[in-house]
């Protein structure tokens, strides 16, 4: 276990950002978000960022390639640049798990090389959640916010921060950092004990996902979807703040001097997501709404050894303009299904 005084964190940040790009959760006018560290920047006191750190691996918009058109001819131009090593500091346990959820999509055959390239260059320093909030339900998905995964796990105990390398990449990151000193494990145990105590009292601490990940057609045909989706605006906010949503669109942009092809986040909550020349198989918001939750709670786990495509970060709970969310869906769908 290595430690540093919180007041000395800037020294650690400067040292880390010397060798790599460093991203830390910092306050902005629009709330906390992961920003590239610059000298003088401090970590937010917020529990988590408004948007998840997924766009460091899967950017909201990325240029896949360009095309040069000349008469009837087309040339494909590979626009990819070499990715630099980078560190994401202060990632919460839920968001760390979201990377595994994304990995199973992008790193399964055929591998998405754009994603893989960034993933290989990224080192994750996670941070235990000293004060999990009312909207948190990571434990529903067997995520332990007192024991976050990642390459290095970190803990804030009093006025000190402790670091425990969990992978080779993590050990390498902490090597030769003279600002860190050896620390005992006792304060970290105490910190974890406090977290468990707070967690057990949270309103969603007993929410279970056990009923999901199976019974596909039964849930699909449930008559509860009408009521659940009735007020959905189809704004897609839930998908954009969600750390595990990974649907994307591919669009071309004519620059006047060639074509740029972009990959952009998309949402199954949008009506044109499945629209084809001859019609749309998901005719109303009910079908789109159902797709999003069926995918997270049933389809994805069916394909991924029971791993859910929700990490209980609670972002959709606090951001949905009509206060609909996956917790309400789970409770409603699960009604009367106790086994």
């Amino acid at each position: 276990m290595l430690k540093i005084k919180l007041s000395k964190l800037p020294i650690l940040f400067d040292a880390l950002s010397d060798k790599n790009k460093l991203y830390i959760p910092a306050d902005t006018k629009g709330g906390a978000r992961f920003l590239q560290y610059e000298n003088g920047m401090t970590m937010t006191k917020e529990l988590n960022t408004v948007r998840s750190p997924k766009d460091l691996f899967f950017p909201q918009t990325e240029n896949l390639m360009d095309f040069k058109l000349e008469g009837k001819k087309i040339e494909v131009i590979d626009t990819r640049e070499e990715c630099e090593d980078f560190v994401i500091f202060g990632v919460r346990a839920c968001d760390v798990r979201s990377f595994e959820v994304l990995d199973r999509v992008f790193l399964s055959e055929p591998i998405d090389t754009y994603y893989k390239n960034r993933r290989e260059h990224g080192v994750i320093v996670s941070l235990a959640c000293n004060r999990p909030e009312e909207t948190c339900f990571c434990s529903t998905f067997d995520i332990d916010c007192a024991n976050p995964e990642g390459d290095v796990a970190s803990y804030i105990c009093g006025d000190e921060m402790y670091f425990e390398p969990l992978t080779e990449k993590g050990s390498e990151l902490l090597l030769n950092l003279s600002c860190l000193s050896e620390g005992s494990e006792a304060p970290v145990y105490e910190c974890k004990r406090n977290i468990y105590e707070i967690k057990s009292k949270l309103p969603l601490s007993t929410l279970s996902a056990e009923k999901f990940g199976k019974n596909m057609t039964e849930y699909f045909n449930s008559d509860k979807w009408d009521e659940l989706s009735e007020a959905c605006l189809g704004c897609g906010t839930c998908t954009f703040v969600c750390p595990t949503c990974q649907c994307y669109d591919i669009k071309d942009f004519d620059t006047g001097n060639g074509i740029k092809r972009f990959r952009c986040w998309d949402s199954c909550m949008y009506s044109d997501f499945t629209k084809m020349a001859h019609g749309n198989p998901r005719v109303s918001q009910k079908e789109r709404f159902r797709q999003r939750f069926m995918h997270k709670l049933v389809y994805y786990p069916m394909n991924n050894d029971g791993l859910f495509s929700c990490v209980g970060c609670g972002r959709c709970l606090s951001k949905c303009p009509i206060s609909m969310n996956i917790v309400k869906v789970m409770k409603k769908l699960g009604e009367g299904k106790d086994e």
């Binding site: 009837k72 596909m216 649907c247 669109d249 084809m276 797709q291």
Partner: protein
């Protein structure tokens, strides 16, 4: 498959055949004159005109054709309108092959085959039919039931008349929706024609066409006594990536681009009814 699945290769359109008032068949090779890539019957490819769009099309030529790939494309949206305006020599981008294929080397081997197509649904089946014709000894009888709105809407009529109809062991049954001058063949919808023809229920069936035609044909086959395990069909949903990641063609636990487009009917029944 190309390691960079989202990055296409360049194809050149070397021939354009006008099949019907709204279907054209495009022959595509690489700029140095080769077939862009190998594939199996029923597999698809992403065709694109950068700046216009990119979409998934079934490859209609047989894999046994070593020289080029062919796509029979119906004009029905932005990209297909553009493709229909192309002239020979136009470059396109092409990537693939995507999806599974009809099990020509396993489950279909040695079977008597019944192909049922409606309209542009002949495009993917044509690949299988010609693959089976090229490997004739591996399959039993070949029956083809093909229907379209009118005589003029039958795709690649000349190949049907001049090659399929004249070949021993292949029988072709054509039908059009309404009476038409100069047509002395069968008139009526495909599902009813299937019932009238009353095919031997030991055949293995491959059905392709508009969703409504597929639904009614499957019902007709069931009435005749065919089991769900004997029937293969294809599905289509909107696609962007072709590799099961963009999420668009997700239906239940399957992705049509990766786990389909070919589904045995009994497997299809286990999926949510959302296609």
């Amino acid at each position: 498959m190309n390691n960079e699945t989202l990055i296409p290769v360049i194809g050149v359109v070397t021939d354009i055949r006008i099949d019907t008032p709204d279907v054209k068949t495009f022959r595509v090779v690489t700029p140095d004159g080769n077939k862009p890539f190998e594939y199996m019957p029923g597999q698809c490819a992403m065709l694109s005109i950068p700046g216009v769009g990119e979409a998934m099309f079934s490859i209609t030529s047989s894999p046994t054709n070593t020289e080029y790939m062919e796509f029979s494309i119906k004009k029905c949206g932005c990209l297909t309108d553009w493709l229909h305006k192309m002239e020979v020599g136009q470059y396109v981008t092409v990537r693939g092959p995507y999806g599974n294929y009809f099990p020509v080397e396993t489950e279909l081997k040695g079977k008597n085959l019944l192909f049922i197509a409606g309209g542009i649904g002949l495009a993917p089946l044509r690949s299988v039919i010609n693959y089976c014709r090229a490997n004739r000894d591996n399959y039993g009888t070949i029956d083809i039931i093909y229907g379209s709105r009118s005589k003029d809407d039958l795709v690649d009529y000349s190949e049907i008349i001049n090659e399929w109809m004249t070949e021993a062991g292949v029988s072709v049954h054509l039908t059009i929706d309404r009476e038409q001058e100069g047509w002395d063949g069968h008139v009526g919808f495909v599902p009813n024609y299937v019932k009238e023809l009353n095919p031997d229920i030991n055949k293995t069936v491959l059905v392709c066409g508009p969703p409504i035609m597929i639904k009614f044909t499957l019902n007709a086959l069931k009435e005749l006594g065919f089991t769900e395990e004997q029937v293969y069909t294809t599905m289509e949903l909107r696609m962007k990536c072709g590799v099961g990641k963009c999420g668009r063609c997700n239906i239940g636990s399957k992705y049509v681009c990766k786990d389909g487009p070919v589904f045995r009917y009994d497997k299809l029944g286990a999926l949510p009814d959302e296609y």
